[in-house]
Structures are given as structure tokens and as C-alpha cells.
């Protein structure tokens, strides 16, 4: 309550993750990839659809991971970027009859601009203040999409129906399976880009800002530019995830993109391990499947069961799936020595 200025040596909110620890080794990556490619051949269409959603949420969690794990900025507004991406695709496909594949880069560019601009006022805020600002964005988005004068384009509360694309080149594949492989290619492409981004000069700048903003700026990192850039990149990737999501679900409506989505993505990031990119897919699996499991255990108490399961996970592995991966690596190392 006094006006005395307080001096603290603050530990960074996000742990410093060395950039090598942010990815998987080549061998493991190829194994995971092979599993992802082969799996749809053996399962039913509904499961393929769920796996597509897994990839899409994984992509959205990855985007948040670049922002939080990479540059140390916190966001509860990812659902807004996801919504903008989804609506861009839906409007382009339904009103302008643009090919679905072409809408993805457009959604990415639109969201990049949106995120970059939003990053400007967010520059002065950090920690809880940034959380509140992004939270405001997330709560405003569904209301903005419902506005009257946009109704002609967005369909208002009703939303828009999106047609699911058929497999091209006369391939004998179900729509679900084609969309799965299409998403897989997009996700792998973006994953590789993200890994390379974090290994580049910009990535190092992100991490310098995350670990100590003042020191980073003293070393010549343009803090304002890189912070907004991180927002832009994260928004662009989230937007592409949103586009894929709109195509997969075949429907966009304002109330699918509420704060709940942003909170889920945040939980996905924590469960996957903050700053560990491959963990994104584990986190996505958690937010897609665990609520269903909880519902299966008890209908009336599904929320409580979900909470208890979440507590279990964070007690056992406070650092998320990354911790499991590190343990696994150490075990493998020991076995090799023996």
C-alpha cells in the first residue's frame, strides 16, 4: 500500500527450455510419422475424424507453445484467432467459392495481420495483464461475430455450413480419410517450419526475450518487433488450425469459439509440456479424449472427474509430457550402456 518502488529479481514465468530440448530426435520423429500415416487404414471413419481433430488441436496447441514456450508471452485469446481462421475459410468457400486448400494460406495471412496488430497494444502488458487482455479478446470474439451488420457474411448466430471436400485426382478414399491426410501434410509442414523458426535468429531472439527481456534488449534484440512477431506467427498457425477445423467439422458458429476453447488449448499446452513442440499432440489428445473418458466414468460428475484426472497428471508430471520423454531418454541411455 506504500508508494515505495519495489525491486525484485523475478524468475521468468516460463522455464528456460534449451532449443535442442524443444524437439524429438530424428528416429523417434520418423516412427511417430509412420504411425500417423498407417493408422487410418485400419480404423473406422469416426475415429479418422477424431484423429483429424487431434491433428488440428495439436496444431493450435503448437501455436500457443511457440508464443508461450518460445517467447514467454501468455495468451488466453487463442480461440479468437482460431475463430478468425475458421470464419475466413467458411466465408471464402461459401460466398466466393474459393478452393478449400487455397483458403488456408489466406486465413494464415489474415490471422497473422490480426495477431501482429493485437500484439501492438499487448506489448506494454505482461503476465496476468496480458492474460486479461487476451481473455478480453476471446470473450469479445463470439459477440463480434454475431453483430448485425456482419450477418450477411457470417450468418449471425446460425453460423455457416461448410461443404466437405472430396478426394481429388479420382483417389478412392473416403472424405474423412482424404481430409486426414491433407491435414497431416499441412501439420507436418508447419511443424517443420516451427522447428526451424525456433532454431533461427528469430527463434533465438524469442527465447532471449522469454528468459530475460531487459537483458535481451540490452544485447540488441528488438523486443517490440519480436514480441509482436511471435503473436503474429502464433495467430497465423492458430488461424490455419481454425480453417482446417472448419472444414473438418463442416460448420462454423460463434458459440463454438468461446473462452472454453482457449482454456482447453492452454491445458493442452501444460499437459504436453510448455516449450516442447512434440508435446502439443499429446496435449491435444488430452483435451480431446479425457473429457470423453470422464463422461464415460460418470455422467453427472464428468467435470469433477476431468478435474481429478487433470490434477493427477500435473501431480505426476508437473512438466507435462516433456518430463516423460526426458525420463524415457534417460532410461534408454542407461539400457544402452549396460
Amino acid at each position: 500500500m506504500s508508494a515505495v518502488e519495489e525491486v525484485v529479481t523475478e524468475a521468468p514465468a516460463v522455464e528456460a527450455v534449451p532449443k535442442r530440448a524443444m524437439t524429438l530426435g530424428t528416429g523417434t520423429s520418423l516412427l511417430v510419422l509412420a504411425a500417423l500415416i498407417i493408422m487410418p487404414i485400419f480404423v473406422k471413419n469416426f475415429i479418422i475424424f477424431q484423429m483429424t481433430m487431434l491433428l488440428i488441436y495439436g496444431l493450435a496447441v503448437l501455436a500457443l507453445n511457440i508464443l508461450t514456450g518460445g517467447s514467454g508471452q501468455f495468451s488466453l485469446g487463442q480461440s479468437a484467432f482460431y475463430a478468425v481462421g475458421a470464419y475466413t475459410t467458411a466465408v471464402l468457400m461459401e460466398h466466393f467459392e474459393v478452393n478449400y486448400a487455397l483458403t488456408l494460406p489466406i486465413a494464415g495471412i489474415v490471422c497473422f495481420g490480426f495477431g501482429f496488430l493485437f500484439g501492438q497494444p499487448a506489448l506494454r502488458l505482461s503476465g496476468v495483464y496480458l492474460a486479461l487482455a487476451t481473455f478480453a479478446l476471446a470473450t469479445a470474439m463470439p459477440q463480434l461475430l454475431k453483430l448485425n451488420f456482419l450477418e450477411h457474411w457470417t450468418g449471425g448466430v446460425q453460423g455457416l455450413v461448410v461443404t466437405k471436400p472430396d478426394a481429388p485426382f479420382g483417389l478412392k478414399m473416403s472424405q474423412d480419410m482424404w481430409l486426414y491426410y491433407f491435414s497431416l501434410v499441412v501439420v507436418i509442414g508447419i511443424y517443420l517450419l516451427a522447428v526451424n523458426l525456433l532454431r533461427s535468429r528469430s527463434g533465438r531472439a524469442f527465447m532471449a526475450i522469454r528468459d530475460n527481456e531487459i537483458a535481451a534488449s540490452a544485447m540488441g534484440v528488438d523486443v517490440a518487433l519480436y514480441k509482436t512477431l511471435a503473436f503474429g506467427v502464433s495467430a497465423a498457425i492458430t488461424g490455419i488450425a481454425g480453417s482446417l477445423g472448419a472444414i473438418a467439422v463442416q460448420f462454423v458458429a460463434p458459440d463454438s469459439y468461446t473462452i472454453t476453447l482457449a482454456v482447453s488449448l492452454f491445458l493442452g499446452m501444460v499437459v504436453g509440456g510448455v516449450g516442447w513442440l512434440p508435446g502439443s499432440i499429446v496435449g491435444a489428445a488430452f483435451i480431446i479424449f479425457v473429457p470423453n473418458i470422464a463422461e464415460g466414468i460418470s455422467k453427472g460428475l464428468s467435470g469433477a472427474v476431468f478435474g481429478v484426472l487433470l490434477f493427477l497428471v500435473i501431480y505426476l508430471v508437473p512438466h507435462g509430457a516433456r518430463q516423460v520423454a526426458i525420463l524415457g531418454q534417460q532410461l534408454a541411455g542407461k539400457l544402452r550402456k549396460n
Partner: protein, 292 residues
């Protein structure tokens, strides 16, 4: 002009709700340095307990006191059992813990008391206050309780040994430990007090918004916004922030065309963010200087 004063008065009346919640938010922020996302749900659960006690025939004030005591104990228990093991975990993991707690409390309250809306009594009556149609005696009572609570907290933190110890533990934990303060228990105490204040907020708000498991969703958002606006380090700021947010929201709804009930919240939040961009530590918050 009359419309303006009326809207300001109405804003102050709703602002009292936010101020109460903001006080609880600041209280826990002082103790643990995070925003507790489950705070609203904890307040809701406390309110349900007091309602249950009244259903069993206990008079209002007895139920009120009993609920405060129970909430205080429950707050300490939650900290000791659920969050102490996470003390060394990363901050974001703790936030995930708050979200888990939110889900658990909300869903259990729904199962125990179901989701139907319940009437909740007020000790102040609901007649117009001093002949004004806009403020009822309940709302005036609520403003009074908020101010009393603020004064009480001020004296507690400024003039008692334990208040001093809590402030020390929150601002410089290492030095506080060196002079013999049990910082871990200070955090638990902070949880207990925040839960009790949340219970007061819940019991005062319930007659206005009616009692049901989701009653606190919106209120907590405004409470957070108020606390952040006033400065998270200042209980006084939180109360001022609460009243300001209430007035903001009402005036935006009245004077900006096209703003219905739907857009009130985004506009209030946008205003708060504009304030924060100018004053990043909130209106009354201490500016914290970081050492490299």
C-alpha cells in the same frame, strides 16, 4: 443529466458486487502471486453451504458466521492438500490446477444442489433505499459491507503482527523466512482469508443474481478486471476498480449506440485494457522494478 446520475448510481450498485469479488482476488494474489481462476466457484460453493444451513433452520447471521468459518478452514485445507505439493511446479502448471479445481467444484455443486435457480434471502430487505428507485437497501447494505471489509483488511495488514508477516512473506519470501516467518503457512492463511472474503461476496451477490452453480462466471471476470484495473497489489484499488467497472459498464450500455447487453462486457474490458496500456500496474498498483 438525470439519466446520467441514475446510470452512475446503478453502476455503483452493481460495482459493489465486483468490488467484493475483486477484494477476494487481490487477497489471494497478495498471498500467492497468481490469479485464482477457481475463486468464483469457491465463493459459489460457500454460498450454497450457507443456503443449505438456512434450509436446515439456522438463522441468517448464524449461518453467515458458520459459513465464514467453514470457508476459512476449507480454503486452508485446499491449499495444504492440493496446492502445497505444486509449490515448486511451474506457474502455468499451477494455473492448470486452478482450472481443474474450477471443474471439480462446479460439477460437484451441480450434482449436490442441481442446476435450478434458487432464491437467496437478504438481511437488508429490498425496499428502495432513501426513496431512490435505483438502489435498494440490499445494494446499499452491500456497499456498506464492502467498505467495512476494506477498512478491516486495511487495519489487519497495517497494524497487526500477522498482517505484517503476511505482507513480508508475499513481497520478499527469502528475507521473511530469515526473520522467522513461516511463509508456507502464510500462504495457507492467505487462501483461508481469500476464501472467507469470497464467501461474503457470494452471500451478498446471491440475492441479486440468484443462486445456481454458474452464478459466479460473469462476476469473477468483472472481479478480475476490477482488481487488475485498480492494481493487483492494492485492496483499496480493487474496491475503487470494482465501482469504476460497474459505472463504465452501465454508461457504455446507455450512451454508446448499438451496445446491448451482449457487448457490455467486451467494451468494459476494452476500456480497462486502454487504461492498462497507459498505466501498466493499474491505477493504484505499486510499480515493480525488475532487476536483470
Amino acid at each position: 443529466m438525470e439519466l446520467f446520475t441514475n446510470q452512475v448510481l446503478a453502476g455503483i450498485a452493481t460495482g459493489a458486487i465486483y468490488a467484493c469479488m475483486a477484494l477476494a482476488v487481490v487477497m489471494i494474489y497478495q498471498a500467492i502471486d497468481h490469479l485464482n481462476f477457481a475463486q468464483g466457484e469457491m465463493a459459489m460453493f460457500s454460498t450454497f453451504i450457507s443456503w443449505q444451513l438456512m434450509q436446515w433452520g439456522i438463522p441468517y447471521w448464524a449461518a453467515f458466521i458458520l459459513t465464514l468459518a467453514l470457508s476459512f478452514i476449507a480454503g486452508i485445507a485446499i491449499e495444504r492438500i492440493l496446492f502445497k505439493p505444486l509449490a515448486k511446479a511451474p506457474i502455468l502448471t499451477n494455473v492448470a490446477g486452478f482450472i481443474a479445481l474450477f471443474a471439480i467444484i462446479n460439477s460437484s455443486a451441480g450434482l449436490i444442489w442441481d442446476f435450478t435457480i434458487k432464491q437467496y434471502p437478504t438481511p437488508f430487505g429490498s425496499a428502495p433505499f432513501l426513496g431512490s428507485q435505483l438502489i435498494s437497501t440490499h445494494q446499499a447494505g452491500m456497499i456498506g459491507v464492502t467498505v467495512l471489509l476494506l477498512l478491516g483488511l486495511y487495519f489487519f495488514f497495517q497494524y497487526t503482527r500477522i498482517g505484517l508477516a503476511m505482507r513480508a512473506a508475499a513481497s520478499v519470501p527469502e528475507s521473511a523466512r530469515l526473520v522467522g516467518i513461516n511463509t508456507s503457512w502464510m500462504i495457507a492463511l492467505g487462501w483461508g482469508m481469500a476464501t472467507a472474503i469470497g464467501a461474503i461476496a457470494g452471500m451478498l451477490i446471491a440475492p441479486v443474481v440468484f443462486l445456481e452453480p454458474n452464478m459466479m462466471g460473469g462476476v469473477l471476470i468483472y472481479g478480475f478486471a476490477a482488481a487488475v484495473l485498480g492494481g493487483l497489489t492494492s485492496p483499496f484499488g480493487a474496491v475503487v476498480g470494482g465501482f469504476l467497472v460497474g459505472v463504465f459498464e452501465n454508461l457504455a450500455g446507455t450512451y454508446i449506440p448499438g451496445v446491448g447487453n451482449e457487448l457490455k462486457l467486451p467494451i468494459a474490458l476494452a476500456l480497462i485494457i486502454s487504461v492498462l496500456v497507459v498505466k501498466p500496474a493499474g491505477l493504484f498498483g505499486r510499480h515493480i522494478v525488475k532487476r536483470v
